[in-house]
Amino acid sequence: MEDSKGKIGIKEFIAIIILTIGTKLTDDTTVILYKQMENAAWMSPFVICAFSILPIFLLIKVMNIYENKNLADVINQLFGRFFGFFTVMILWFLLFSALTIDSAVYTDIISTMYFEKTPVIMIYGLLMLVSAFGAKKGIEHIGSVAWSVIFWIKLSLLAALILTFMQGEILFLFPIFGNGAWEVVKESSLRTSLNAEFLYLGLIFPYLKNKKDYKKGTWIALAIITTELSFSLAAFIMLFDHKGIQLMDFPFHETIRYIEIGFLENIETFFFPFWLIASFIRFAFYLYLTAILFGSLFSIRNFEHLLPIIATLVVFLGIIPENPTFTIFKLRESLLFITTPIFIILPFLLWAAAKLKGEFKNEKAKASD
């Protein structure tokens, strides 16, 4: 048992990925997709998935060379001290921005859709406090919590989706290609960074009990997330049609407010707690990754101690924007565009560097020894 301490298995690994990326369907990411692709937005997860396959594949190849190194170490090893530092810096900056922007959006959702009178700073503070507490416990705890709640969270989502499909109108999905087939491919590819978290998963590579799980877990999670996101996007359109959905700020929350189970109305309070827990886990994981990256940037071994500082910083940065719904929406859109090329190119560069340095041969030699 000793050597598995602080490590996670494939179940926990998959649960973490699904909760971190899958929760995106509940915030305004969906609106970013609807804005350009209208009623064909449900196809975009598949396109995005197709575009992310190659980067993820290359990343897995590179990561598998090294046994106990995380992504930051690998980058430093392959790019050298100088370029490595900058690459990790950029990665950290992107992740930190994503964390700030996303947590600000979630706070905005909670305060506009559920708790109107509660001061925003309290909601934000509590959200980050709980997440920081979770992150401080370490990856093992994040993983086991994620695994123990994922079933309930996904069950509640499934219930919401089934109800939506039952009350929705399939004809709203037509014309089938939205703004045109080419438009779908183009706009989706620009937003491939929706899956950028897969890149950051390399950071927890050393914490996996079995290194083979990394490959298997990643592919399984990618398949699940893609299907889930696509179905949800279709469900929201079937309820609101393509015009209405673009006017909304948070389609998922409008959906759970609208659907009803027979005589039971106003059931959003049933879905809300599940969504909250998913958000806690998501931000706990984000915080944890941010801390790892920051730790490796400045060689801080006990990076867990950074968590309270990072969480506080996030809160104070996150409450700055005036009119969060729109400002953050814009910021998030730009962030998606900026991250996309990095997500696609970085794994390729890593792979090329490893190839040039002959790291793959070394590994083979090691294996044959």
Binding site: Y114, W152, I176, G178, E183, G244, R257, Y258, N266, I277
Partner: protein, 416 residues
């Protein structure tokens, strides 16, 4: 053991979920005035006149032990410019915090609905947190404030229950269309079809009802006795968010039958007997599946073919014709009904093409299927194309049963 521990942990976790509600935003039932319906009229000084129908939660609840002497509802009207600010303004009179939490009905006077500006106020509803998209929209002949004041249900005195019951029942019997805020916004935004709203009134109108059947509006059904004056019957027609006309109960039913977006409820109807015109046959019609609508596009004029399968139960036979027994007569009756339906429907479709210049059937959804992308569909312009379309309706009737006891005695034998 381990499993049990796990289970206990899970249960604790789920119980903890309850505490996520927090108490900053707590609301106490005692300290809230729950608005059940709001009425909207055109204001004299401000742009709107709003009416709140506030329900008394203490009234008629058995748990309280005995009833109170307080009336079931409180009604207040005043002028305002939007739907949100009156929440505080009303507190000049109402002692408790006004809450839209249980508000399920928005009642609008015909006069306001016909205003071009009407849609502006409707979008207020998407701003306020407590207003839900499944709120019913009711349009009244008189002022909404008068409607709310005059409406005095005799048995369902609790206002929230009354509105819920009468509207649900009205929709289930196809007297009124299913008209929610969600549908209003969705159809207006799609800008292709017509939206139908619930039509109601407390004003009685004397009309000659002979042979009119279902061709009446709310307020035209003659009733006597000791009951509520309010009637929910027929529908109002909205084009691009503005009211442009009214439909009788019969036309409302036809639109429901021809609608592709939803299945219509079973309806009870009556029509003259083909053999003896002085008697009417009552029947129950059920839509087996949504009508099959096919759109053929040529350059220039498009063609719409509608095929509508209907299941029909004959409920009365005043002419004593014994349709159940005679295949020949049954076939004749079927032909007659199909013909009558097609004619009535065609007449209505022509009216929508000429008078409203748009359709209330959601047929634009069928047109969407014909295009690969939205720009192509928009270029086609469903609403502009519809009035010129060549519509062809064919009804197919299958008979079910002919009443609980299907055979009748020969009249001549009873009276010999």
């Amino acid at each position: 053991m381990k499993k049990q521990k796990h289970l206990i942990k899970m249960v604790c976790l789920i119980l903890l979920v309850v505490s996520l509600g927090g108490c900053w935003d707590k609301k106490e039932i005692e300290r809230n005035a729950y608005v059940v319906a709001i009425g909207l009229d055109k204001g004299k000084e401000a742009s709107l006149k709003i009416t709140y129908l506030i329900s008394n939660p203490e009234y008629g609840s058995i748990q309280q032990g005995g009833s109170t002497n307080e009336p079931p509802v409180e009604i207040i009207s005043f002028e305002t410019d939007d739907l949100v600010s009156p929440l505080y303004k009303a507190n000049a009179v109402i002692a408790k915090e006004i809450s839209y939490n249980l508000m399920k009905n928005i009642i609008v006077s015909e006069k306001l609905a016909m205003e071009k500006e009407f849609i502006r106020w409707m979008y207020d509803t998407t701003k306020e947190k407590d207003i839900r998209r499944d709120t019913y929209l009711i349009f009244t002949k008189e002022d909404a404030s008068k409607f709310i004041l005059e409406n005095q249900p005799k048995l369902e005195t609790r206002a929230n229950k009354y509105f819920e019951f009468i509207i649900r029942r009205g929709i289930a019997t196809a007297n009124i269309p299913d008209s929610t805020l969600h549908r209003y916004l969705r159809i207006t935004e799609a800008d292709a079809d017509l939206f139908l709203g619930i039509y109601a009134t407390t004003e009685h109108e004397d009309t000659d009802q002979s042979n009119k059947g279902d061709e009446i509006f709310a307020g035209q059904l003659d009733t006597t006795g000791k009951t509520n004056k309010t009637q929910f019957l027929g529908s109002t027609v909205f084009k691009e968010g503005m009211m442009i006309g009214k439909l009788t109960a019969e036309d409302t039913r036809i639109s429901l039958l021809l609608s592709v977006a939803e299945k219509s409820p079973p309806m009870l109807i009556s029509f003259p007997d083909p053999n003896k015109k002085e008697y009417r046959i009552a029947a129950k019609i059920t839509q087996l599946k949504s009508p099959k609508v096919d759109l053929k596009m040529n350059n220039g004029i498009s063609k719409v073919d509608v095929f509508l399968p209907i299941h029909m139960d004959i409920l009365t036979d005043h002419a004593m014709e014994n349709y159940a027994k005679d295949t020949q007569k049954r076939e004749e009756l079927k032909k007659y009904i199909e013909n009558r339906f097609e004619k009535k429907m065609m007449k209505f479709v022509t009216r929508t093409q000429e008078e409203f210049k748009a359709d209330p059937f959601g047929w634009s959804l069928i047109a969407r299927k014909k295009f690969a992308s939205l720009p192509e569909y928009k270029r086609f312009g469903w609403m502009q194309a519809y009035p010129q379309m060549d519509v062809n309706i064919s009804v197919n009737i299958t008979f079910g049963d002919f009443g609980r006891q299907s055979r009748l005695p020969k009249l001549e034998k009873v009276r010999d």
